[in-house]
């Protein structure tokens, strides 16, 4: 009961905070729409993919996943802010325990990811025809990709001590995950080494699953995509719980001002 109450409290608190940081939400949406509208329009004139599909239509599933990836991971990594400004210790001091705290953070980040990816998905009919039968599977693919993104964000946050490292994380973690995923260009054309990296990148499978949902050409079976995403989520959550040092926030203080 106390774990569920704590998860409920953390989700409500994180979503309330997100709703009051409209600049951050809009900024998070600017990135995918810039890719879709500015880069996509430019590439339309120079790139035609399998079956003569315009680049914008090809990149749409990847951009939906991109919106969710950035929204989910950045919201989860914001745990570092909570660590720095004292709210994390409050959560860690609750009777619910570390798994409930991490679960609440992951769920809240996944909901933010779904919101950002969902807004891009809702605009999809302006880019390419979207059959009604695609909506349900697309929402399902988005939900799974969002949960994976959120837990990957928590894994990054587990050992991140300072908000100063935040920008570095975007460059070192988020962009490589996106670029080596088949979101922006097909993995088939990549060098063998990058293709091998793409195979172990969970985002590759989130993009592929979204392509299934939007009825585009795919690389893997939907079953494999779902299995990999669920597995990656479980592994990331378990690793986070193991790596997350509940004393970290307190030891720093106690050492300096016991």
């Amino acid at each position: 009961m106390s774990a569920l109450s704590a998860i409920h409290g953390i989700v409500v608190r994180d979503l309330t905070r997100a709703s009051r940081q409209t600049g951050r939400l809009l900024g998070g949406l600017a990135r995918p729409f810039m890719w879709l509208l500015l880069v996509g329009t430019g590439y339309n004139s120079i790139a035609r993919l399998e079956g003569g599909a315009p680049y914008q239509a090809f990149v749409l599933p990847g951009i939906i996943v991109m919106a969710a990836l950035f929204g989910g991971m950045l919201t989860a990594i914001a745990t570092v802010y909570d660590r720095e400004f004292g709210m994390l210790r409050l959560m860690l001091a609750s009777p619910a325990g570390v798994p409930a705290v991490l679960g609440g953070r992951a769920l809240a980040a996944a909901l933010v990811a779904m919101l950002q990816g969902g807004i891009v998905l809702a605009c999809a009919p302006f880019i390419t025809p979207l059959p009604a039968s695609a909506v349900g599977p697309a929402i399902g693919a988005l939900a799974l990709g969002s949960i994976t993104s959120a837990t990957l964000g928590l894994l990054v946050a587990a050992r991140l001590r300072s908000v100063e490292n935040f920008a570095g994380v975007i460059n070192v973690v988020l962009f490589p995950l996106l670029f080596v995923s088949g979101a922006l260009y097909p993995t088939a054309g990549m060098p063998a080494a990058l293709r091998a990296l793409a195979r172990v990148n969970p985002v590759t499978y989130a993009v592929d699953l979204m392509r299934h949902a939007l009825e585009q050409p795919v690389e893997f079976s939907a079953g494999r995509d779902v299995t990999v995403l669920l597995g990656a989520t479980a592994i990331a959550f378990t690793l986070t719980a193991l790596l997350f040092d509940p004393e970290q926030r307190f030891v720093g203080k106690a050492t300096t001002r016991a």
Binding site: A6, G9, I10, G86, P95, K253, A258
Partner: protein, 308 residues
């Protein structure tokens, strides 16, 4: 667990950070409803002791029980009985007062109507109702601390652990906070363990534990500790201060001595000698005052090394 089980039982409790000994061996028993102050300079081990008792740090040595529950083995059960106030306020600036309290209520395990009732009562007790919907980032430090106290008390904890709850606050807010804590003790029988650098705040405590360099250097009721440094304190300044001190020593009246910038602070035993009479007519005594002993005298005597 019976009603006679102490609120806190610590035996040789200590913690090291790598090779740094933050807390040596704290042994402490606090009965239910007790009001205990932890005093000591920065780095003495007060925060470490509180975090160990609150199950937020694992002890390197020793044991501790909260209401009979081991702090290592029964962390979740211990936390349900605790209300914690950290040195820095733990409130979210982007949420309103009411939202912060709802969040804290759910973290403490409350749900449904219990959340609404607990939040309403905590706001009423702390006088926060008129500002319930105000964002916390718009509040002054004093009001934020009041929200923090309301947060820690809203689930009616049996034990409150407060790490310098009044640090940096004006006298009005300090008084309000002690008034809220007093009410918790009177109405709910809450046990209170607190640390403070405002030593006058520890005077009403049942018991004071004085820490220095990770070790307990004094432990007792404030009156006992004050008596140990003298029934009265004579502050004497001027070139003749040393001669007056010698005269008091010859009469067996000196209980404790601290050198000050221009003389001595002498704890004297009542009835052995009258410093005013001894100093009468001495031109080289520039100032002599006699006052009751305070916890500050105890603090300086026990924690500050005497310069050679």
């Amino acid at each position: 667990m019976t009603s006679s089980t102490p609120a806190i039982e610590a035996d040789g409790l200590g913690r090291d950070y790598d090779r740094v000994r933050a807390l040596g061996a704290l042994s402490l028993t606090v009965p239910r409803g007790g009001f205990v102050g932890l005093l000591g300079p920065n780095g003495a081990g007060k925060t470490t002791a509180m975090l160990l008792l609150a199950t937020l740090l694992a002890p390197t040595r020793g044991t501790a029980r909260i209401f009979g529950l081991d702090v290592r083995a029964r962390r979740s059960a211990v936390r349900r009985r605790l209300g914690l106030v950290f040195q820095e306020t733990s409130v979210d600036g982007l949420l309103s007062i009411e939202e912060n309290l709802r969040f804290a209520a759910r973290l403490s395990g409350l749900g449904g109507s219990a959340v609404r009732e607990a939040v309403a009562r905590a706001m009423s007790e702390a006088g926060l109702e008129p500002r319930a919907r105000q964002l916390v980032r718009q509040l002054s430090g004093g009001w934020r601390r009041l929200v923090d106290i309301a947060r820690a008390t809203l689930h009616r904890p049996e034990l409150l652990i407060l790490d310098e709850p009044t640090v940096g606050l004006d006298p009005e807010h300090r008084e309000r906070i002690w008034s809220i804590l007093g009410r918790q003790r009177r109405e709910y029988g809450t046990t209170v363990l607190f640390s403070t650098h405002y030593l006058v705040e520890a005077e009403p405590a049942d018991r004071v534990v004085l820490l220095a360099r990770g070790e307990v250097v004094a432990d007792g009721a404030p009156a006992e500790l004050r008596a140990a440094v003298g029934d009265e304190i004579a502050e004497v300044e001027g070139p003749g201060a040393g001669r007056l001190l010698d005269a008091l020593r010859q009469r067996g009246a000196v209980v404790s001595v601290r050198r000050t910038e221009r003389g001595f602070r002498v704890g004297i035993a009542a009835g052995r000698a009258n410093p005013m009479e001894l100093a009468a007519g001495a031109r080289d005594i520039e100032r002599l005052s006699i006052r009751p002993g305070t916890l500050e005298d105890v603090y300086f005597t026990q924690t500050v090394p005497e310069s050679p």
